[in-house]
Protein backbone atom coordinates (compact mmCIF):
# COMPACT_ATOMS: atom_id res chain seq x y z
CA UNK A 1 0.00 0.00 0.00
CA UNK A 2 1.39 3.34 -0.95
CA UNK A 3 0.95 6.44 1.11
CA UNK A 4 0.38 9.68 -0.75
CA UNK A 5 2.94 12.26 0.31
CA UNK A 6 2.48 15.83 -0.83
CA UNK A 7 5.56 16.86 -2.83
CA UNK A 8 7.53 19.72 -1.32
CA UNK A 9 6.57 23.18 -2.62
CA UNK A 10 8.84 24.15 -5.50
CA UNK A 11 11.60 26.48 -4.44
CA UNK A 12 12.69 29.73 -6.02
CA UNK A 13 16.11 29.55 -7.69
CA UNK A 14 18.47 31.32 -5.30
CA UNK A 15 21.61 33.33 -5.99
CA UNK A 16 24.96 31.87 -4.99
CA UNK A 17 26.98 35.01 -4.24
CA UNK A 18 30.65 35.02 -5.17
CA UNK A 19 33.48 36.64 -3.24
CA UNK A 20 33.13 39.57 -5.63
CA UNK A 21 29.36 39.94 -5.48
CA UNK A 22 28.75 39.29 -1.76
CA UNK A 23 28.76 43.03 -0.79
CA UNK A 24 26.03 43.72 -3.40
CA UNK A 25 23.78 41.00 -1.93
CA UNK A 26 24.57 42.14 1.63
CA UNK A 27 23.42 45.63 0.57
CA UNK A 28 20.12 44.36 -0.84
CA UNK A 29 19.48 42.51 2.42
CA UNK A 30 19.89 45.84 4.26
CA UNK A 31 17.60 47.60 1.77
CA UNK A 32 20.51 49.43 0.14
CA UNK A 33 21.49 49.44 -3.55
CA UNK A 34 25.27 49.03 -3.42
CA UNK A 35 27.34 49.06 -6.61
CA UNK A 36 30.99 48.26 -7.20
CA UNK A 37 33.16 51.28 -8.05
CA UNK A 38 36.78 51.21 -9.15
CA UNK A 39 39.01 52.69 -6.45
CA UNK A 40 41.49 53.96 -9.07
CA UNK A 41 39.37 55.50 -11.85
CA UNK A 42 36.04 55.71 -10.05
CA UNK A 43 33.97 54.02 -12.75
CA UNK A 44 31.00 51.88 -11.75
CA UNK A 45 30.66 48.25 -12.89
CA UNK A 46 27.92 45.64 -12.66
CA UNK A 47 27.73 42.69 -12.33
CA UNK A 48 30.59 42.61 -9.78
CA UNK A 49 33.96 41.27 -10.98
CA UNK A 50 37.61 41.39 -9.89
CA UNK A 51 39.17 43.75 -12.48
CA UNK A 52 38.11 47.20 -13.73
CA UNK A 53 37.83 46.81 -17.53
CA UNK A 54 38.68 50.51 -17.99
CA UNK A 55 41.92 50.86 -16.01
CA UNK A 56 42.63 47.23 -14.91
CA UNK A 57 42.80 48.13 -11.23
CA UNK A 58 41.85 45.33 -8.87
CA UNK A 59 40.94 47.68 -6.03
CA UNK A 60 37.26 48.49 -5.65
CA UNK A 61 34.66 49.61 -3.16
CA UNK A 62 30.90 49.28 -2.90
CA UNK A 63 28.97 52.55 -2.63
CA UNK A 64 25.28 53.24 -2.20
CA UNK A 65 23.72 54.31 -5.50
CA UNK A 66 20.49 56.08 -6.46
CA UNK A 67 17.54 53.71 -7.04
CA UNK A 68 15.78 55.54 -9.88
CA UNK A 69 15.95 54.61 -13.53
CA UNK A 70 14.19 54.46 -16.90
CA UNK A 71 12.86 51.35 -18.65
CA UNK A 72 15.17 50.16 -21.43
CA UNK A 73 12.96 47.23 -22.48
CA UNK A 74 10.91 44.43 -20.92
CA UNK A 75 9.32 41.01 -21.33
CA UNK A 76 6.18 39.43 -19.94
CA UNK A 77 6.79 35.85 -18.89
CA UNK A 78 3.83 33.56 -19.54
CA UNK A 79 5.49 30.14 -19.64
CA UNK A 80 7.12 29.08 -16.37
CA UNK A 81 10.44 27.43 -17.18
CA UNK A 82 10.80 26.57 -13.49
CA UNK A 83 8.10 25.03 -11.29
CA UNK A 84 8.36 27.83 -8.74
CA UNK A 85 7.25 30.41 -11.29
CA UNK A 86 4.11 28.44 -12.21
CA UNK A 87 2.31 30.30 -9.45
CA UNK A 88 3.73 33.66 -10.57
CA UNK A 89 2.94 33.80 -14.32
CA UNK A 90 2.28 36.07 -16.03
CA UNK A 91 4.86 38.46 -14.60
CA UNK A 92 6.62 41.45 -16.10
CA UNK A 93 10.40 41.78 -15.95
CA UNK A 94 11.82 45.18 -16.80
CA UNK A 95 15.38 45.92 -17.85
CA UNK A 96 16.15 49.36 -16.47
CA UNK A 97 18.82 51.95 -17.24
CA UNK A 98 19.62 53.01 -13.69
CA UNK A 99 20.58 56.62 -13.01
CA UNK A 100 23.66 55.07 -11.38
CA UNK A 101 24.96 54.05 -14.83
CA UNK A 102 24.29 50.28 -14.84
CA UNK A 103 21.31 48.14 -15.78
CA UNK A 104 19.12 46.11 -13.45
CA UNK A 105 16.76 43.35 -14.52
CA UNK A 106 13.90 42.87 -12.05
CA UNK A 107 10.15 42.30 -11.86
CA UNK A 108 7.98 45.37 -12.46
CA UNK A 109 4.94 45.53 -10.19
CA UNK A 110 1.87 47.75 -10.04
CA UNK A 111 2.03 48.94 -13.66
CA UNK A 112 -0.50 47.63 -16.15
CA UNK A 113 1.01 45.83 -19.13
CA UNK A 114 -0.56 48.23 -21.64
CA UNK A 115 1.10 51.22 -19.96
CA UNK A 116 4.72 50.01 -20.09
CA UNK A 117 6.93 52.17 -22.29
CA UNK A 118 10.61 52.64 -23.05
CA UNK A 119 11.90 55.56 -20.99
CA UNK A 120 9.25 55.22 -18.28
CA UNK A 121 10.58 56.17 -14.83
CA UNK A 122 10.74 53.48 -12.16
CA UNK A 123 12.51 52.94 -8.86
CA UNK A 124 14.06 49.94 -7.20
CA UNK A 125 12.37 48.33 -4.19
CA UNK A 126 13.47 45.45 -1.98
CA UNK A 127 11.71 42.17 -1.24
CA UNK A 128 13.18 39.88 1.42
CA UNK A 129 12.57 36.29 0.34
CA UNK A 130 14.30 34.70 3.33
CA UNK A 131 16.71 35.67 6.12
CA UNK A 132 19.70 35.74 3.78
CA UNK A 133 18.38 36.91 0.46
CA UNK A 134 16.56 40.06 -0.61
CA UNK A 135 15.66 40.45 -4.29
CA UNK A 136 15.04 43.70 -6.15
CA UNK A 137 11.82 44.68 -7.94
CA UNK A 138 10.60 47.86 -9.62
CA UNK A 139 7.62 50.11 -9.02
CA UNK A 140 6.58 53.33 -10.76
CA UNK A 141 8.63 56.29 -9.50
Amino acid sequence: MSTAVAPPAPERPMPTPTRESQPHWDGLREGRFLLQHCSACGKVRHYPRPVCPHCFSMESEFKEAPTGGAIHTWTICHHPFNFFFKAEVPYVVALVDMDAGVRVNAPLRGVSEADIKIGQRVKLAFEPVNKEVTLPFFVAE
Binding site: P15, T16, H72, T73, T75, C77, H78, H79, V102, P107
Partner: protein, 386 residues
Protein backbone atom coordinates in the same frame (compact mmCIF):
# COMPACT_ATOMS: atom_id res chain seq x y z
CA UNK B 1 46.58 40.19 -49.50
CA UNK B 2 44.50 37.05 -49.69
CA UNK B 3 43.68 35.71 -46.25
CA UNK B 4 45.88 32.67 -45.48
CA UNK B 5 42.86 30.50 -44.60
CA UNK B 6 40.73 31.35 -47.65
CA UNK B 7 39.63 28.12 -49.33
CA UNK B 8 42.38 26.12 -47.66
CA UNK B 9 39.76 23.91 -46.02
CA UNK B 10 36.59 22.25 -47.28
CA UNK B 11 33.45 20.64 -45.93
CA UNK B 12 34.10 17.14 -47.23
CA UNK B 13 31.39 15.12 -45.50
CA UNK B 14 27.95 15.63 -43.98
CA UNK B 15 25.73 13.29 -41.98
CA UNK B 16 22.61 13.40 -39.88
CA UNK B 17 20.18 11.09 -38.12
CA UNK B 18 16.40 11.24 -38.33
CA UNK B 19 15.11 14.31 -36.46
CA UNK B 20 12.43 13.16 -34.03
CA UNK B 21 10.54 13.89 -30.86
CA UNK B 22 11.26 10.79 -28.86
CA UNK B 23 14.13 8.33 -29.15
CA UNK B 24 15.52 5.41 -27.20
CA UNK B 25 19.05 6.32 -28.31
CA UNK B 26 21.51 8.27 -26.17
CA UNK B 27 22.85 11.64 -27.27
CA UNK B 28 26.24 9.93 -27.75
CA UNK B 29 24.72 7.24 -29.98
CA UNK B 30 22.98 9.89 -32.10
CA UNK B 31 26.23 11.85 -32.36
CA UNK B 32 28.20 8.75 -33.45
CA UNK B 33 25.50 7.65 -35.91
CA UNK B 34 25.66 11.06 -37.60
CA UNK B 35 29.48 10.97 -37.47
CA UNK B 36 29.65 7.62 -39.27
CA UNK B 37 27.27 8.97 -41.92
CA UNK B 38 29.41 12.09 -42.43
CA UNK B 39 32.63 10.09 -42.67
CA UNK B 40 31.06 7.71 -45.22
CA UNK B 41 29.66 10.68 -47.17
CA UNK B 42 33.19 12.05 -47.46
CA UNK B 43 34.42 8.72 -48.77
CA UNK B 44 36.69 8.33 -45.74
CA UNK B 45 37.17 5.64 -43.11
CA UNK B 46 36.67 6.49 -39.40
CA UNK B 47 40.41 5.76 -39.10
CA UNK B 48 41.08 8.90 -41.20
CA UNK B 49 39.65 11.23 -38.52
CA UNK B 50 42.49 12.89 -36.60
CA UNK B 51 40.68 15.83 -34.96
CA UNK B 52 37.32 16.09 -33.15
CA UNK B 53 35.26 19.03 -31.95
CA UNK B 54 32.27 17.57 -30.09
CA UNK B 55 29.46 19.92 -29.12
CA UNK B 56 29.61 20.30 -25.36
CA UNK B 57 27.80 19.86 -23.01
CA UNK B 58 25.74 16.93 -24.24
CA UNK B 59 26.82 13.89 -26.23
CA UNK B 60 30.35 12.57 -26.09
CA UNK B 61 33.90 13.82 -25.64
CA UNK B 62 37.10 12.97 -27.54
CA UNK B 63 37.59 9.82 -25.48
CA UNK B 64 34.23 8.49 -26.70
CA UNK B 65 35.21 9.06 -30.31
CA UNK B 66 38.52 7.25 -29.91
CA UNK B 67 36.85 4.34 -28.11
CA UNK B 68 33.91 3.99 -30.53
CA UNK B 69 35.56 4.77 -33.85
CA UNK B 70 38.91 3.19 -33.06
CA UNK B 71 40.75 6.38 -33.95
CA UNK B 72 44.42 5.37 -34.14
CA UNK B 73 46.05 8.77 -33.63
CA UNK B 74 43.82 11.67 -32.60
CA UNK B 75 45.88 14.86 -32.85
CA UNK B 76 43.36 17.48 -31.76
CA UNK B 77 40.51 17.52 -29.24
CA UNK B 78 38.67 20.82 -28.83
CA UNK B 79 35.55 22.22 -27.23
CA UNK B 80 34.19 25.49 -28.58
CA UNK B 81 32.02 26.77 -25.73
CA UNK B 82 29.78 29.21 -27.63
CA UNK B 83 26.29 27.72 -27.25
CA UNK B 84 24.41 28.05 -30.53
CA UNK B 85 27.40 29.72 -32.19
CA UNK B 86 29.54 26.65 -31.48
CA UNK B 87 29.12 24.62 -34.66
CA UNK B 88 29.96 27.36 -37.14
CA UNK B 89 32.76 28.72 -34.94
CA UNK B 90 34.14 25.16 -34.80
CA UNK B 91 34.55 25.34 -38.59
CA UNK B 92 37.08 28.12 -38.02
CA UNK B 93 39.01 25.98 -35.52
CA UNK B 94 38.87 22.98 -37.86
CA UNK B 95 39.98 25.05 -40.85
CA UNK B 96 42.95 26.35 -38.86
CA UNK B 97 43.86 22.80 -37.85
CA UNK B 98 43.82 21.37 -41.37
CA UNK B 99 45.34 24.41 -43.10
CA UNK B 100 48.27 24.41 -40.69
CA UNK B 101 48.90 20.69 -41.18
CA UNK B 102 48.12 19.67 -37.62
CA UNK B 103 45.21 17.52 -38.87
CA UNK B 104 43.91 16.13 -42.13
CA UNK B 105 40.25 15.50 -41.28
CA UNK B 106 38.43 17.13 -38.38
CA UNK B 107 35.03 15.87 -37.25
CA UNK B 108 32.48 18.31 -35.80
CA UNK B 109 29.57 16.46 -34.22
CA UNK B 110 26.40 17.11 -32.23
CA UNK B 111 24.17 14.62 -30.42
CA UNK B 112 21.14 15.90 -28.65
CA UNK B 113 18.16 14.48 -26.75
CA UNK B 114 16.47 17.85 -26.33
CA UNK B 115 13.01 16.29 -26.37
CA UNK B 116 13.48 12.96 -24.62
CA UNK B 117 16.27 14.13 -22.26
CA UNK B 118 16.86 17.24 -20.15
CA UNK B 119 15.06 20.37 -21.38
CA UNK B 120 16.64 23.72 -22.05
CA UNK B 121 16.35 25.38 -18.62
CA UNK B 122 18.05 22.36 -17.03
CA UNK B 123 20.71 21.99 -19.72
CA UNK B 124 21.83 25.59 -19.39
CA UNK B 125 22.84 25.05 -15.78
CA UNK B 126 25.74 22.98 -17.13
CA UNK B 127 27.17 26.02 -18.96
CA UNK B 128 29.77 28.01 -17.02
CA UNK B 129 28.86 30.96 -19.26
CA UNK B 130 25.44 31.09 -17.58
CA UNK B 131 26.81 31.67 -14.07
CA UNK B 132 25.86 35.38 -14.07
CA UNK B 133 22.36 34.65 -15.38
CA UNK B 134 22.01 31.99 -12.68
CA UNK B 135 23.08 34.41 -9.95
CA UNK B 136 21.27 37.59 -10.97
CA UNK B 137 18.46 36.64 -13.33
CA UNK B 138 17.20 33.15 -12.50
CA UNK B 139 16.05 34.26 -9.00
CA UNK B 140 13.85 37.00 -10.50
CA UNK B 141 12.37 34.63 -13.07
CA UNK B 142 14.55 35.07 -16.17
CA UNK B 143 16.64 32.11 -17.25
CA UNK B 144 15.46 30.30 -20.38
CA UNK B 145 16.72 31.65 -23.72
CA UNK B 146 13.18 32.79 -24.67
CA UNK B 147 13.16 34.99 -21.56
CA UNK B 148 16.72 36.25 -22.08
CA UNK B 149 16.25 37.21 -25.75
CA UNK B 150 12.64 38.49 -25.62
CA UNK B 151 13.62 41.94 -24.23
CA UNK B 152 15.83 42.58 -27.30
CA UNK B 153 12.96 41.66 -29.61
CA UNK B 154 10.62 43.96 -27.68
CA UNK B 155 13.09 46.84 -27.98
CA UNK B 156 13.41 46.28 -31.76
CA UNK B 157 9.60 46.45 -32.02
CA UNK B 158 9.41 49.65 -29.98
CA UNK B 159 12.28 51.43 -31.76
CA UNK B 160 11.71 50.32 -35.35
CA UNK B 161 8.07 49.25 -35.60
CA UNK B 162 8.83 45.57 -36.15
CA UNK B 163 5.65 43.52 -35.64
CA UNK B 164 4.56 39.99 -34.87
CA UNK B 165 3.49 39.76 -38.52
CA UNK B 166 7.20 39.97 -39.36
CA UNK B 167 7.98 37.25 -36.81
CA UNK B 168 5.22 35.09 -38.32
CA UNK B 169 6.72 35.47 -41.79
CA UNK B 170 9.94 33.80 -40.63
CA UNK B 171 7.99 30.94 -39.00
CA UNK B 172 5.68 30.38 -41.98
CA UNK B 173 8.37 30.50 -44.68
CA UNK B 174 10.63 28.22 -42.64
CA UNK B 175 7.78 25.72 -42.32
CA UNK B 176 7.12 25.83 -46.08
CA UNK B 177 10.74 24.91 -46.63
CA UNK B 178 10.66 22.15 -43.99
CA UNK B 179 7.79 20.42 -45.75
CA UNK B 180 10.00 19.98 -48.83
CA UNK B 181 12.76 18.28 -46.85
CA UNK B 182 11.43 14.92 -45.67
CA UNK B 183 13.54 14.69 -42.50
CA UNK B 184 11.82 17.18 -40.21
CA UNK B 185 9.90 17.24 -36.95
CA UNK B 186 7.24 19.72 -38.15
CA UNK B 187 5.78 18.65 -41.49
CA UNK B 188 2.36 20.32 -41.62
CA UNK B 189 1.75 23.79 -43.08
CA UNK B 190 1.66 26.75 -40.67
CA UNK B 191 -0.41 29.88 -41.30
CA UNK B 192 0.11 33.43 -40.06
CA UNK B 193 -3.16 33.10 -38.11
CA UNK B 194 -1.96 29.92 -36.40
CA UNK B 195 1.26 31.69 -35.47
CA UNK B 196 -0.64 34.64 -33.97
CA UNK B 197 -2.98 32.28 -32.08
CA UNK B 198 -0.18 30.21 -30.53
CA UNK B 199 0.34 30.67 -26.81
CA UNK B 200 2.62 33.36 -25.47
CA UNK B 201 5.89 32.05 -24.02
CA UNK B 202 7.80 35.20 -23.10
CA UNK B 203 6.30 38.29 -24.70
CA UNK B 204 6.77 39.05 -27.56
CA UNK B 205 7.75 35.41 -28.31
CA UNK B 206 4.90 33.01 -28.96
CA UNK B 207 5.23 29.24 -29.21
CA UNK B 208 5.83 29.35 -32.97
CA UNK B 209 8.56 31.97 -32.56
CA UNK B 210 10.60 29.41 -30.61
CA UNK B 211 12.81 26.64 -31.97
CA UNK B 212 12.05 23.00 -31.32
CA UNK B 213 13.12 20.72 -28.55
CA UNK B 214 13.97 17.61 -30.59
CA UNK B 215 16.19 14.54 -30.66
CA UNK B 216 18.84 13.96 -33.30
CA UNK B 217 22.46 14.00 -34.33
CA UNK B 218 24.44 15.85 -36.99
CA UNK B 219 28.09 15.84 -38.06
CA UNK B 220 30.43 17.24 -40.69
CA UNK B 221 34.01 16.54 -41.70
CA UNK B 222 36.39 19.41 -42.50
CA UNK B 223 39.38 18.43 -44.65
CA UNK B 224 42.25 20.12 -46.42
CA UNK B 225 40.95 21.42 -49.75
CA UNK B 226 43.73 19.82 -51.79
CA UNK B 227 42.88 16.42 -50.29
CA UNK B 228 39.08 16.90 -50.38
CA UNK B 229 39.35 17.49 -54.13
CA UNK B 230 40.05 13.76 -54.50
CA UNK B 231 37.06 12.67 -52.41
CA UNK B 232 33.81 11.55 -54.00
CA UNK B 233 31.60 14.65 -53.62
CA UNK B 234 31.82 18.10 -55.26
CA UNK B 235 34.41 20.29 -53.52
CA UNK B 236 32.75 22.80 -51.14
CA UNK B 237 35.40 25.18 -49.84
CA UNK B 238 35.39 27.44 -46.80
CA UNK B 239 35.94 30.91 -48.29
CA UNK B 240 35.49 32.87 -45.10
CA UNK B 241 34.82 31.94 -41.48
CA UNK B 242 34.84 33.91 -38.23
CA UNK B 243 33.59 34.01 -34.66
CA UNK B 244 32.63 37.14 -32.74
CA UNK B 245 31.99 37.88 -29.08
CA UNK B 246 29.80 40.77 -27.92
CA UNK B 247 30.35 43.32 -25.20
CA UNK B 248 29.19 41.96 -21.84
CA UNK B 249 29.26 38.44 -23.26
CA UNK B 250 27.76 36.65 -20.25
CA UNK B 251 25.05 39.19 -19.48
CA UNK B 252 22.64 40.53 -22.06
CA UNK B 253 21.25 42.83 -19.39
CA UNK B 254 24.48 44.85 -19.16
CA UNK B 255 25.15 45.01 -22.93
CA UNK B 256 25.10 48.62 -24.18
CA UNK B 257 23.12 47.73 -27.34
CA UNK B 258 21.00 44.59 -27.03
CA UNK B 259 20.66 44.39 -30.81
CA UNK B 260 24.39 44.46 -31.55
CA UNK B 261 26.17 41.20 -30.79
CA UNK B 262 29.02 38.94 -31.89
CA UNK B 263 27.93 38.71 -35.52
CA UNK B 264 28.45 42.48 -35.89
CA UNK B 265 32.18 41.75 -35.47
CA UNK B 266 32.47 38.38 -37.21
CA UNK B 267 30.44 39.12 -40.37
CA UNK B 268 32.71 41.89 -41.74
CA UNK B 269 35.76 39.71 -41.03
CA UNK B 270 34.26 36.70 -42.82
CA UNK B 271 33.25 38.77 -45.85
CA UNK B 272 36.74 40.25 -46.06
CA UNK B 273 38.38 36.84 -45.75
CA UNK B 274 36.08 35.42 -48.42
CA UNK B 275 36.41 38.39 -50.74
CA UNK B 276 32.63 38.56 -51.21
CA UNK B 277 29.76 40.67 -49.87
CA UNK B 278 26.05 40.26 -49.13
CA UNK B 279 25.18 40.76 -52.82
CA UNK B 280 27.14 37.62 -53.75
CA UNK B 281 25.17 35.29 -51.46
CA UNK B 282 22.82 32.88 -53.28
CA UNK B 283 21.41 31.13 -50.21
CA UNK B 284 21.70 31.73 -46.45
CA UNK B 285 21.12 29.38 -43.53
CA UNK B 286 20.55 31.65 -40.52
CA UNK B 287 20.58 30.38 -36.94
CA UNK B 288 16.94 30.52 -35.93
CA UNK B 289 16.59 29.82 -32.23
CA UNK B 290 13.82 32.45 -32.45
CA UNK B 291 12.09 34.07 -35.42
CA UNK B 292 13.26 37.52 -34.37
CA UNK B 293 16.86 36.34 -34.15
CA UNK B 294 16.80 35.77 -37.91
CA UNK B 295 15.58 39.33 -38.55
CA UNK B 296 18.26 40.78 -36.27
CA UNK B 297 21.04 38.75 -37.90
CA UNK B 298 20.03 39.71 -41.45
CA UNK B 299 20.63 43.33 -40.37
CA UNK B 300 24.04 42.56 -38.86
CA UNK B 301 24.96 40.59 -42.00
CA UNK B 302 24.42 43.73 -44.07
CA UNK B 303 21.46 42.49 -46.13
CA UNK B 304 19.53 45.52 -44.92
CA UNK B 305 20.03 48.44 -42.53
CA UNK B 306 19.61 48.24 -38.78
CA UNK B 307 15.92 48.37 -37.95
CA UNK B 308 14.79 47.42 -41.46
CA UNK B 309 14.88 43.64 -41.00
CA UNK B 310 11.10 43.34 -40.54
CA UNK B 311 10.03 44.87 -43.88
CA UNK B 312 13.08 43.27 -45.59
CA UNK B 313 11.90 39.70 -45.08
CA UNK B 314 8.36 40.26 -46.44
CA UNK B 315 6.88 39.62 -49.88
CA UNK B 316 8.64 36.35 -50.53
CA UNK B 317 12.16 37.71 -50.34
CA UNK B 318 13.42 34.97 -47.98
CA UNK B 319 11.37 32.12 -49.54
CA UNK B 320 12.61 29.73 -52.20
CA UNK B 321 12.43 31.60 -55.49
CA UNK B 322 13.00 34.91 -53.67
CA UNK B 323 16.02 37.19 -53.68
CA UNK B 324 17.58 35.60 -50.57
CA UNK B 325 16.22 32.14 -49.77
CA UNK B 326 16.94 31.28 -46.13
CA UNK B 327 16.69 28.15 -44.01
CA UNK B 328 15.82 25.99 -46.99
CA UNK B 329 15.77 22.87 -44.76
CA UNK B 330 13.34 24.11 -42.12
CA UNK B 331 15.89 25.33 -39.59
CA UNK B 332 15.70 24.95 -35.84
CA UNK B 333 12.12 26.22 -36.00
CA UNK B 334 10.76 23.33 -38.06
CA UNK B 335 13.40 20.72 -38.93
CA UNK B 336 15.06 20.04 -35.60
CA UNK B 337 17.48 21.49 -33.06
CA UNK B 338 20.98 20.14 -33.45
CA UNK B 339 22.58 23.46 -32.53
CA UNK B 340 22.66 24.62 -36.14
CA UNK B 341 24.92 21.94 -37.55
CA UNK B 342 21.88 21.07 -39.71
CA UNK B 343 22.28 24.56 -41.22
CA UNK B 344 25.86 23.78 -42.27
CA UNK B 345 24.72 20.45 -43.72
CA UNK B 346 21.94 22.12 -45.70
CA UNK B 347 24.24 24.80 -47.10
CA UNK B 348 26.67 22.09 -48.21
CA UNK B 349 23.79 20.20 -49.89
CA UNK B 350 22.66 23.36 -51.65
CA UNK B 351 26.12 24.01 -53.04
CA UNK B 352 26.52 20.35 -54.07
CA UNK B 353 23.08 20.67 -55.77
CA UNK B 354 21.78 17.83 -53.60
CA UNK B 355 18.96 19.82 -51.95
CA UNK B 356 16.11 18.11 -53.80
CA UNK B 357 12.82 20.03 -53.92
CA UNK B 358 14.40 22.88 -51.94
CA UNK B 359 17.30 23.34 -54.36
CA UNK B 360 18.23 26.97 -55.06
CA UNK B 361 19.01 26.99 -58.77
CA UNK B 362 22.71 27.35 -59.60
CA UNK B 363 23.71 28.07 -55.99
CA UNK B 364 27.43 28.90 -55.99
CA UNK B 365 28.09 30.87 -52.78
CA UNK B 366 26.20 30.70 -49.51
CA UNK B 367 26.54 31.63 -45.89
CA UNK B 368 25.61 30.04 -42.59
CA UNK B 369 25.48 31.62 -39.15
CA UNK B 370 25.56 30.44 -35.57
CA UNK B 371 24.16 32.48 -32.67
CA UNK B 372 24.02 31.73 -29.02
CA UNK B 373 25.51 31.80 -25.59
CA UNK B 374 23.73 35.14 -25.07
CA UNK B 375 25.14 36.80 -28.17
CA UNK B 376 28.17 35.02 -29.58
CA UNK B 377 27.97 35.06 -33.36
CA UNK B 378 29.73 32.89 -35.93
CA UNK B 379 29.60 32.83 -39.72
CA UNK B 380 30.97 30.69 -42.54
CA UNK B 381 30.85 31.49 -46.25
CA UNK B 382 31.08 28.40 -48.46
CA UNK B 383 31.59 28.06 -52.21
CA UNK B 384 31.12 25.36 -54.78
CA UNK B 385 34.69 25.31 -56.12
CA UNK B 386 35.03 25.06 -59.88
Amino acid sequence: MVHPLREKAAVSGIGETAYTRGTHKSALALQLEASLAAIADAGLSPRDIDGVVPYFPGGGIAEDFIANLGLPDLKLSLFVPMGGATCVAAIQSAAMAVASGVCNNVLIAVGRTGYSGARVSTRLQQFPQFALAAEFEAPIGIFAPAQLYAPGARRHMELYGTTERHFAEVAVVTRQHAILNGNVVMNKPLTVEEHHASRMISDPFRLFDCSLESDGGAAIVVSRSDRARDLKKPLITIMGVAEGHPESPASIAQRPDLLEFGLAKSAPRAYEMAGVGPKDIDVAEIYDCFTFTVINQLELLGFCKKGEGGPFIMDGRIALGGELPINTHGGLLSQGHVVGLNHVIELTRQLRREAGKAQVKDAEVGLVTGYGDMGDGSIAILRRAA
